[in-house]
């Protein structure tokens, strides 16, 4: 068995175990098997309600959002050939959140529910497009543009919070901005899943093109992989995946930065080989982080985005440390 196959197999097993644990973990002492069985047979028991309405949506969303975050990080890093690329670091998640908050704030989402994910998608998509337009300026320009986008979205979000009429609404927005799955519902699953799945499919389809791109844009193009086509797939895929995730779970950062970094030594340097392990690793990380926040540490539940950021920032520092002294 090759190292790649072994890595994928172990990660799959970890994701499966964490998913089961995610269904089992919670204050109500219920049997997962009983709950699932009741749910599938349409029996309206407490176990069925807790599993079907609370824990299953939370597990599905942690799995899918983590998967797409890890995957979009790996794809973005392959596209711009830079290990610092990540939807959070580059401000894509922030712009998605801004879109969603504007729709939430103006009340449009209360009238028409799909407006929320669509606004998040548009925000994330516009940010990715802008970044791609600037990618030709090189690594430094890209990272600076990402920082600018992130700051801009943070400033506008702060402004929105400032203008929110009631403290309750601003608490709602804050809670959601920090990233959380604690109130995940079946409705959220229905809203987010199409975007997450289509985004994933688009991102997975870029593997060979990303491999070709390691030889530079010119060689990739002469081998039959025009840069534009890859860019569009990564932009659309990232926008769909990150936007849908942000719409239901808020800003969850650094998963896309951490996973490719941790898995590259195991999966090898070929970008196509990094996609699946990063996706699985992202799912595992978010499932684990979501289990962690459920631990009764200080009475209040920790926010998911806070935990992933605490894990992610040391890796970010490590990357910057490794890049020091290199020409940009």
């Amino acid at each position: 068995m090759s190292r790649y196959t072994l890595t994928v197999a172990i990660l799959s097993a970890v994701v499966l175990a964490l998913a089961i644990l995610s269904l089992a973990a919670g204050p109500a002492g219920i049997s997962v098997v009983q709950g699932l069985s009741d749910m599938l047979h349409g029996r309206e028991t407490i176990a069925a309600t807790i599993i079907g309405q609370i824990r299953l949506p939370r597990m599905i969303l942690a799995l899918l959002i983590g998967e797409t975050l890890g995957l979009s990080g790996a794809a973005l890093q392959g596209l711009v050939r830079n290990p610092l690329a990540d939807p959070g670091v580059l401000g894509i998640s922030g712009c998605g959140a801004l879109g969603a908050v504007l729709v939430f704030y103006t009340g449009v989402s209360a009238v028409w529910a799909p407006a929320l994910p669509l606004a998040a998608l548009s925000g994330a998509g516009l940010a990715t497009l802008l970044l791609l337009a600037l990618t030709r300026g090189g690594t430094l320009v890209l990272v600076l543009a990402g920082a600018a986008l992130g700051s801009m979205s943070a400033a506008l979000l702060a402004l929105t919070l400032n203008l929110v009429p009631s403290p309750y609404a601003s608490y709602e927005i804050m809670h959601w901005l920090m990233g959380s799955l604690s109130r995940a519902s079946l409705h959220d699953v229905l809203i987010a899943t199409p975007g997450l799945l289509i985004g994933s499919a688009l991102l997975f389809s870029t593997g060979r093109s990303l491999d070709a791109l390691t030889l530079g844009e010119d060689v990739a193009q002469t081998m039959g992989f025009p840069l534009r086509a890859v860019q569009w797939r990564v932009v659309l895929g990232t926008a769909l995946a990150v936007g849908s995730g942000v719409a239901v779970a808020g800003g969850i950062g650094f998963v896309g930065l951490v996973m490719p970094h941790l898995l590259r030594p195991l999966a090898g340097a070929r970008p196509s080989r990094l996609l699946l392990p990063s996706a699985l690793g992202g799912a595992a990380l978010l499932l684990a982080a979501d289990l962690f926040v459920r631990l009764p540490v200080s009475g209040a539940e920790l926010q998911l985005g806070v935990v992933t950021s605490l894990i992610g920032t040391p890796v970010f520092f490590w990357q910057v440390w490794r890049l020091r002294g290199r020409p940009v």
Partner: protein, 256 residues
């Protein structure tokens, strides 16, 4: 296969880069593209590789317009080796060479791909460290690995932009000899060169570009005359046997 440029011209941002260039690269030959800096050699090669569209004129591959050909098919017919190597490819030498088989992903078997890659690695003498990471290679070794990638395509047309610019004389001779072998096996090879001695020694024909125009094309003996050196490069040469060595500047000649 014959790659032909049919009176192509190109203007970019108001600068006339190429002017009515008509030439062809035929199977079994190494065509050297020479000329002073800024003459348009690399631009011409990029057009021949399908990376830039000419403003007027066409690029034909066996009579078929290169720019209307499906990208994947074009990728199988034509291998391009750029002047600048990517900063750092972390993958193994064998994996880099295997990238050359991407255009064949729907048409070749795994065995065919393995064989092509092994042949390419053997040809450039990198088999011994095929499993080493390409990030840990010297400049010369990396240039050879990227050449192996281009050879692994097994394309009838091979286009290389200053492939020996960063190589020591031994490596440069090895690489040029390799192009000769490719031509002997029926490939059509076009190489942008600055080293006129290498061009004279290894090219079947030489095309001389100056200020975007094709000044001369023919065998090295026909093309590399004292008058041409003075006219195009503004230098006087001394002859060492068959090789002309640029010796001094010509003050009266039109400087590029």
């Amino acid at each position: 296969m014959i790659l032909q440029t049919d009176t192509i011209s190109l203007t970019l941002q108001g600068n006339r880069l190429l002017n009515d260039i008509a030439l062809d690269v035929r199977p079994g030959e190494v065509l050297g593209l020479i000329g002073p800096n800024g003459a348009g050699k690399s631009t011409l090669l990029r057009i021949m590789a399908g990376l830039l569209r000419p403003e007027t004129g066409r690029v034909l591959l066996d009579g078929q317009d290169l720019f209307t050909m499906p990208p994947e098919e074009r990728g199988r017919h034509l291998a391009y080796l750029p002047q600048e190597a990517p900063a750092a490819i972390g993958m193994s030498v064998r994996d880099v060479a295997m990238l050359g088989r991407l255009p064949h992903r729907r048409t070749a078997s795994a065995e065919q791909n393995e064989t092509a890659v092994q042949q390419a690695l053997d040809a450039v003498g990198t088999s011994a460290f095929a499993d080493r990471s390409s990030a840990r290679l010297s400049g010369g070794e990396r240039a050879r690995v990227l050449l192996a990638r281009a050879l692994a395509v097994q394309a009838p047309i091979l286009l290389a932009d200053e492939p020996v610019a960063a190589l020591d004389p031994a490596q440069a001779l090895t690489v040029m000899d390799l192009f000769g072998q490719c031509a002997a096996q029926g490939q059509a090879v076009a190489v942008v060169l600055h080293d006129l001695a290498l061009a004279a020694r290894f090219c079947t024909r030489i095309a001389v570009l100056s200020q975007g125009r094709l000044v001369s094309i023919g065998t090295p003996a026909e093309v590399l005359t004292d008058a041409l050196f003075a006219e195009v490069y503004g230098v006087a040469v001394r002859r060492c046997g068959e090789v002309a060595v640029p010796w001094s500047l010509v003050s009266s000649a039109r400087r590029p």
